[in-house]
């Protein structure tokens, strides 16, 4: 009889154990707040510790313990030898314990600022954060930092354990003040559920049982609280995201798409859309080793078959057609730098997001954030443990949601292409559309580049140069005073801080129009080239001053056309032939002797412009007037 009764008991125990859910906890606190003592006690009191571990523990306490002959609970936790000698926990250590109602996994991380990355690591899988405060010290910088990180990593539940209440005579006022301080800080954090517990880890007050030393405390002891906080509704059951992990093809007729349901619920018969192909089909079966299911939800790992044969591979995502994630290459995120090696914006990182692996680049650091003061400042790189808001461009479109809405599809890691270390981890912010993000090369820009459109607009250049790109074209007979005017104008513009370039027959014919002669056809081509150069330079915001005889009205019109009438100013140097000839007799003489052909006004026609913007004589001092025209364009 006795035996069957016992067997039944253990059956009952196992039946109960089978139904327990799992709570992953992050613990945070500064050194000596009593974190290890509290965890040790939770482990101890939940009878997780076997006797022989206690034997080993007693031996250890004598050697390096800090608590005299008493059991030092903290020693249960420190794993690696070197760390044990230093007396501090570094890295992330995972602990396991269970009660009658729940199983717990504790990610135990150190509190120093230099271990920010470890805390971030622990927080990434946790649903609840247990933050310790030393009652005799109150809310300190570290508490705020830990809370900020917890909020950043999207943990929805915090238990603030106000420890060492014995040191403040179990005083309610001390506790209340700490709660108030903390709540004030919480306003700016995104943590919906916070509980406060006054306790003494060392003496076991309010750990497993309510303490008679704090009758004013009306809440639950901490273990009970941890057992009862409701977490399953934290998961996103709304937006189906099924990032295909593995394609199962045991035989030709079977094609299964295996994945962990990242969020949302998928049902048999649902119409799904595959990204990026956007092809649609219906769910035929949801397969597991333990049988077919009618639906699957996060974080189940299942295999789906579809009604139609569509091409799907690892990295693709199945979603409901009416509820799609963002599909972009360019996005903004909070980034935590995890690498000893500083961020280098020239690195081509490997990015891993859901089941996608591709290249990515950091385009811009919007700001970095001081984890102690929450102040933002400009930065051109991030160092180990630093956190910033950045803009990222991946080499192909990723399927993502805001981290706030979806921890699975909103997170990613950046891997160094050479060391393969995990250099950074990111949480996507989905507020700004990709088009409005600053970037090195956005999709929009890539299109421009491929079409040969500069990423710096004429407007931007002109604003920078404080001038409008334009052409002052001076026409007139040889020796009419064009060149003097042009050079004086150039000097004056320079003195005024303008950027201008002077083109004349001399410098254009010496290179650009080298092969051309003075025949009407070549002269027209020569001027066309000069005009094209003007257009290019004017596009860059530069002022061009051109002095060419340009005798034909039709050619001058073409030039105005090429350059753009609105930025073309035609000045006619109207000196007559006699004055011009007296001014520069050499060429006229050659023409007269028949040694030079096509000299306008001599052996070819100079067509006087009908409507120049300005008509000047040889010695008119009109430089200031021209400057005015330029500045008023």
């Amino acid at each position: 009889m006795e035996q069957t009764k016992q067997a039944l008991n253990i059956e009952e125990f196992l039946a109960q154990d089978e139904k327990k859910d799992l709570l992953r906890i992050l613990t945070a606190g500064s050194v000596d707040d009593g974190k290890s003592t509290l965890i040790g006690r939770l482990l101890f009191d939940s009878k997780r510790l076997y006797d022989d571990q206690l034997v080993a523990l007693k031996r250890d306490s004598k050697r390096v313990g800090h608590a005299g002959e008493n059991i030092d609970y903290a020693l249960l936790l420190d794993g690696l030898k070197a760390e044990r000698e230093q007396g501090i926990t570094i890295d992330v250590a995972y602990r396991y314990f269970s009660t009658n109602r729940r199983k717990f996994i504790i990610a135990d991380t150190p509190g120093h600022e230099q271990y920010t990355r470890n805390m971030v690591t622990g927080a990434s899988t946790a649903s609840l954060a247990l933050i310790l405060v030393d009652a005799s010290k109150g809310v300190i910088t570290q508490t705020r930092r830990h809370t900020f990180l917890v909020s950043l990593l999207g943990i929805k539940h915090v238990v603030l354990a106000v420890n060492k209440m014995d040191l403040v005579d179990y005083d309610k006022e001390v506790f209340d003040k700490i709660c108030e301080d903390y709540k004030r800080f919480l306003i700016r954090q995104n943590i919906p559920d916070v509980n406060f517990v006054p306790l003494s880890a060392l003496h076991g007050d309010n750990v497993v049982n309510l303490s008679d030393k704090m009758p004013w405390y009306k809440g639950q002891p901490i273990l009970e609280l941890l057992e009862s906080i409701h977490i399953s509704s934290d998961r996103n059951f709304t937006d189906l995201r099924y990032p295909v992990q593995y394609v199962l093809r045991p035989e030709h007729s079977f094609r299964g798409f295996s994945a962990k349901v990242a969020s949302g619920i998928v049902r048999k018969g649902d119409e799904l859309m595959a990204l990026p192909s956007r092809k649609k089909s219906k769910v035929k079966e949801i397969i597991t080793y333990d049988g077919e299911q009618n639906y699957a939800f996060p974080p189940e790992s299942v295999t789906i078959t579809l009604e139609d044969e569509i091409d799907i591979s690892r990295g693709d995502m199945l979603v409901h057609p009416n509820n799609q994630p963002r599909v972009e290459r360019h996005f903004e995120s909070m980034l935590v730098w995890m690498d000893e090696k500083d961020m280098d914006l020239n690195t081509n990182f490997i990015i891993k997001q859901t089941t996608n692996l591709t290249k990515a680049r950091i385009d811009d650091i919007r700001y970095k954030i001081n984890v102690n003061t929450m102040h933002r400042s400009e930065a051109n790189h991030l160092k180990l443990n630093e956190i910033g808001r950045v803009v990222i461009t991946a080499s192909k479109a990723l399927f993502f949601d805001a981290y706030e809405k979806n921890r699975e599809t909103g997170s990613f890691i950046l891997i160094d292409p050479i060391t393969h270390n995990t250099s950074a981890v990111g949480m996507i912010i989905d507020r700004v559309s990709a088009e409005d993000l600053p970037n090195r090369i956005s999709d929009k820009d890539r299109k421009k580049i491929s079409e040969g459109i500069s990423l710096v607009s004429s407007k931007e250049r002109e604003a920078k140069l404080h001038q409008k790109g334009q052409t002052i074209w001076i026409t007139g007979l040889h020796g009419s005073g064009k060149t003097d005017l042009a050079y004086l104008l150039e000097k004056r513009l320079f003195d005024l801080g303008h950027v201008s370039i002077l083109l004349d027959g001399h410098n254009v014919r010496s290179g650009l129009s080298k092969e051309l002669d003075y025949s009407p056809a070549d002269r027209a081509e020569h001027l066309r080239r000069a005009a094209e150069v003007c257009r290019l330079l004017n596009d860059q915001g530069i002022i061009t001053i051109c002095t060419f005889i340009s005798p034909k009205e039709k050619t001058r019109q073409q030039i105005a056309e090429i350059i753009g009438k609105e930025r073309f100013t035609l000045i006619h140097m109207a000196s007559d032939l006699e004055t011009s000839r007296a001014n520069k007799p050499e060429l006229y003489k050659l023409a007269e002797e028949g040694k030079l052909h096509n000299l306008a006004g001599m052996n070819s026609v100079y067509e006087v412009p009908e409507n120049p913007d300005l008509r000047l004589e040889m010695d008119d001092n009109r430089i200031e007037g021209i400057v005015e025209i330029i500045q008023n364009k």
């Binding site: 089978e18 006797d51 690591t121 399953s232 080793y289 974080p299 393969h420 995990t422």
Partner: protein
């Protein structure tokens, strides 16, 4: 219609996590292998692999590092199930050392373990050029494991550097390795010993009968009760053997694995014993009585 339930028990959640991990390795590595120790944790892991690829077959081989001093029943169990389930099983042992007659009785536990386990493992991994190897270790087994990653990077000498581990966030595993480097993957990292037993019970996973109590011929050796498994045990020891109702909490090389006196002949009784026991699982593995921190030392050197 019954109301749909969207929550998982802890074991279902751990199972889903393990399946995800196993598939991730199959998808991202060229040449993975599952190290199969024949023990209960390995048996769970193999079942998880079968689940991960159902209705397909497991797309990678299993490898057993045979120290040649395993319990006879382990080897029988291994060969029986490999055949029945159609596993692609590699059995590797250190041939040279075996032929040189290395063994725990003659060379001591340290030399034997170094040569027949650690060395043999590295030899096996190198021989086939595996770039990822699954192991059935759990974080709650032993202190130094509490900090090990699920995807644990090994350099080209298969060494683990506890001070220089890759950050591991969410379920986003960094699987990038250079040629020669590898990753040890522990899909049941987050399972406790009780979880493993519970899973074996619920899934009806076959395990080596040595886990169950029955009268066996044992002898006291190095402070542990050791099974008389074959004639390689020195005669003077064999002569002192007594029949006792015993079982094994862990399985390894028979001369290095102590039995516990027990009546637990069902999983339920084993769990009951475990929950009320005064000695935890690993005290029965003789090599653990080395000085403190010894396991960490072994791990740095490449032992699992």
């Amino acid at each position: 219609m019954t109301k749909e339930n969207y929550s998982l028990s802890h074991l279902q959640e751990l199972e889903a996590e393990a399946i995800h991990i196993i598939r991730e390795v199959a998808a991202e590595f060229e040449n993975p292998v599952m190290l199969y120790s024949i023990g209960k944790d390995s048996s769970c892991m193999v079942r998880l692999a079968e689940k991960a690829f159902y209705p397909g077959k497991v797309p990678f081989p299993l490898m057993h590092i045979d120290s040649k001093w395993k319990f006879k029943e382990m080897v029988e169990f291994r060969d029986h199930y490999a055949k029945e389930k159609g596993w692609d099983l590699i059995v590797h042992y250190n041939k040279e050392a075996y032929e040189a007659g290395i063994g725990p009785f003659t060379h001591g536990s340290k030399v034997h373990t170094d040569v027949m386990k650690t060395e043999a493992l590295l030899e096996g991994l190198n021989k086939y050029g595996f770039d990822a190897a699954f192991g059935g270790a759990r974080r709650d087994e032993e202190k130094s494991r509490a900090k090990e990653r699920i995807f644990s990077f090994r350099d080209e000498f298969h060494q683990w550097d506890p001070k220089n581990q890759r950050p591991e966030l969410w379920a986003n595993y960094n699987t990038q390795v250079m040629k020669g480097e590898s990753i040890r993957v522990f899909p049941i990292s987050n399972w406790t010993e009780l979880d493993v037993w519970q899973y074996i019970r619920l899934e009806k996973i076959p395990i080596v009968p040595l886990y169950f109590a029955k009268p066996r011929a044992v002898v006291e050796y190095n402070g542990a009760l050791v099974l008389v498994d074959d004639e390689r045990m020195p005669k003077e020891l064999r002569d002192k053997a007594k029949m006792k109702m015993v079982r094994f909490r862990t399985l390894g090389c028979y001369p290095l694995t102590g039995a516990v006196e027990s009546d637990a002949d069902t999983i339920e009784k084993i769990v009951e014993e475990m929950m009320t026991t005064t000695a935890s699982e690993r005290t029965t593995r003789v090599i653990d009585f080395d000085q403190e921190g010894s396991m960490e030392q072994k791990k740095r050197e490449g032992y699992f």
